[in-house]
């Protein structure tokens, strides 16, 4: 299947560089605004939990971070596949520059989960399915970063990375359904399920606001990373030379 020429034109590194430069401030400001609203409602307005007291407020970091860890992985796998099939450079680029952000969210999900587990379960860590599969996700991110760094040619690096990412997708449903398939200390889904969410609206709203905020954060930061990386990868083109020597950013 061939993509229309306009897709290739719009996804050219030069066009991407210019467009993303205009978009970053919008994402940045909406991220900051939603962050403050979400934190205000999460820390000051939402009532304490009837079982967990104030400790449940860790959820407002833990759950959005865990969602992001899977969301970014899927974005990377899809863009890497697009790059592999249609040879779109910016798709390969999006996969590479997303990796540190995804790894950071996975790390946060694991550590905040640990910090929540200690007071509630009495332990920082158990080798159950949810925690172990999330740890494997962190290793997939780190493996992808190491693999990309070890291959000099960007074309080959993208191809090898794409295969790793696509194979690793199998881990995503395992993470999601782990709490249903295996007995675990981890609680089941309270939001992403067919029945209505089993959480009071006053606790749910800050969670959804912060989840949106983390997505906006991802877009802003991935575009910033992509722009720097484009300059490096396209350094032998005339337009990059013009931007760099012309002092404009």
């Amino acid at each position: 299947m061939k993509l229309p020429a306009i897709v290739h034109k719009f996804s050219s590194p030069k066009n991407f560089y210019i467009m993303s430069g205009k978009m970053i401030p919008w994402f940045m400001w909406s991220f900051l605004l939603s962050l403050f609203v979400g934190l205000y409602y999460g820390l000051f307005v939402a009532p304490p939990d009837y079982q967990q007291g104030e400790s449940y407020r860790i959820m407002y970091i833990h759950v959005p971070a865990a969602w992001m860890s899977m969301f970014i992985y899927m974005i990377m796998a899809v863009s890497a596949a697009v790059g592999l099939i249609w040879r779109i450079k910016t798709a390969d680029l999006m996969a590479s520059v997303s990796a540190p952000i995804g790894a950071a969210f996975t790390f946060l999900a694991l550590v905040t989960g640990s910090l929540w587990g200690k007071p509630m379960w009495g332990t920082y860590w158990v080798w159950d399915a949810r925690l172990t599969s999330e740890l494997i996700l962190l290793f997939l991110y780190l493996g992808f970063i190491a693999l990309q760094a070890s291959i000099e040619d960007p074309r080959n690096a993208a191809r090898a990375g794409a295969i790793l990412l696509i194979v690793g997708v199998v881990n995503i449903p395992i993470i999601h359904y782990s709490v249903e398939w295996w007995s675990t200390l981890h609680q089941g889904a309270t939001v992403a399920k067919f029945d209505k969410p089993s959480m009071h609206i006053s606790m749910l709203i800050p969670l959804l606001v912060l989840a949106t905020s983390f997505k906006l954060y991802y877009v802003a930061s991935v575009l910033m990373r992509a722009r720097g990386e484009i300059l490096r990868r396209e350094q032998n083109t005339r337009w990059v030379k013009e931007i760099v020597t012309g002092e404009s950013s």
Binding site: E54, F107, P119, R227, G228, L231, Q235, K241, V244, S249
Partner: protein, 60 residues
């Protein structure tokens, strides 16, 4: 709710504030680090282009 009560977090202060603090540090770093790396790339490329320019003039 008093200020000290808020920071006390019903006795879970260590767990709650470590989580929020760590998120701030990690996400802050992820957001700021590309600013530095982009500056470094621009600096590096400026030197490279200047050298190319010089090379070109010597050849002429």
């Amino acid at each position: 709710m008093s200020v000290s009560e808020f920071f006390h977090m019903g006795g879970y202060a260590f767990y709650v504030w470590s989580s929020y603090g760590l998120a701030l540090v990690v996400l802050g770093w992820i957001m700021i680090s590309p600013v530095f790396s982009k500056k470094a790339i621009i600096k590096e490329l400026k030197i490279k282009y200047r050298q190319q320019e010089r090379q070109h003039q010597e050849d002429v």
